[in-house]
Amino acid sequence: MSKIVTLEKALENVKDGMTVMIPGFMGVGTPETLVDGLIEKGVKDLFVICSDTARPERGIGKLIVDNRVKKLIASHIGTNKVTGEKMNAGEIDVTLVPQGTLAEKIRAGGAGLGGVLTPTGIGTVVEEGKQRIEVDGKQFLLELPLKADVALIRGSKVDKAGNVWYEGATRNFNPMMATAADIVIVEAEEIVEIGEIDPNNVVTPGIFVDYIVKGEK
């Protein structure tokens, strides 16, 4: 069965109220076609897990502005003032997580780990409600894994088996998110034949990918 489907077909998997992971760093590495598709489709009350909410007109920022997000986990929202406004108005429930911790929570979710121990956030508000664990005399916080119903990722080159290669700094949260969701949809800047990406250069193995949608550059 081919993994290549239309945008509409792929997004049938995203329903109101679902938890959705969306990668990207200030929009770089975010699947814009899939995000636009979500807005077009009218999905709402999403729980979005992402690194940042980019800018109002870009990437995840568009979902915020269009009131599609009810709950958000992110490390940074400062570049999109709409997120802060909606957070202060009580329209979006925002949890801020240190960026490195967020990466590890997602990795743990995808790797079957019960959590990770990190020194980041000790003695700050990040510690509130978390367990402190001492290892070899050093203090760590127990950070629990994150999982999602759907991950919307973006590949620069994707072969027909779903193997993904990422160009430059587009990689960021894509590889971890691809492992941590029940359904993984990849937006491909370019779809190539199997074998065109050297197996040595595959970053996300195709076994993680359920659907491929052709995107734009």
Partner: protein, 218 residues
């Protein structure tokens, strides 16, 4: 010369040949303009690469290569790209020799507040908490006061970024080292006295016998 350039010039002298360095967004980014030609510093960008180069010439921008502030940059020979887990593994794992960050407040225990003002500004901590905990040396580059009010305090009043992690504070008027005993005034800018610095610093400064004049490489 404006304060920001003085600070950037002085911070640049803290970086050693071969160091892996992460420069924060804003003023810290300016430090790279003043690194001497005979010092090669490997810049890490926490969104996923090392050997970051300067901004490209107009028209040469690559949408896929931006710094942690989202601005177009270049990569130098030797560069590699990686995901955010590896990137923060580099940071948290102690593989970054120095990070240079701005601050809202620093206190005499080396505590840092840099990521939110409750009720006013809540941008999120981004990668700052990991950087401050993980980098071997944490250099704070900031103007000495904010609207005339001290930023170097007895105790931070804003939510902390990290506890007891700051090593050095560089402002336009002085260089302060954070030690177990407290804040040691190491250098003052030309034309600035020790008393001038103490006047705009809430925390008590430890004044060694020999306070040097700040060298900004001119």
């Amino acid at each position: 010369m404006d304060s920001r350039e003085i600070i950037a010039r002085r911070v640049a002298k803290e970086l050693n040949d071969g160091d892996i360095v992460n420069l924060g967004i804003g003023m810290p980014t300016k430090v790279s303009d003043f690194i001497p030609d005979d010092v090669e510093v490997i810049l890490q960008s926490e969104n996923g690469f090392v050997y970051m180069g300067p901004a490209p010439q107009e028209g040469q921008e690559d949408d896929n290569i931006v710094n942690a502030g989202g601005l177009p940059v270049t990569v130098k020979t030797g560069a590699s790209f990686f995901d955010s887990a590896v990137s923060f593994g580099i940071i948290r794992g102690g593989h970054v020799d120095a990070t240079v960050l701005g601050a809202l407040q620093v206190d005499e225990k080396g505590n840092l507040a840099s990521w939110m003002i409750p009720g006013k500004m809540v941008p999120g901590m981004g990668g700052a908490m990991d950087l401050v905990v993980g980098a071997k040396k944490v250099i704070i580059a900031m103007e000495h006061t904010a609207k005339g009010r001290p930023k170097i305090l007895k105790e931070c009043t804003l939510p902390l970024t990290a506890v007891n992690e700051v090593d050095l504070i560089v402002t336009e008027i002085c260089v302060i080292e954070v030690t177990k005993e407290g804040l040691v005034l190491k250098e003052v800018a030309e034309g600035v006295t020790v008393e001038d610095v103490q006047e705009v610093t809430e925390a008590a400064l430890i004044i060694p016998e020999n306070v040097k004049t700040m060298d900004i490489g001119l």
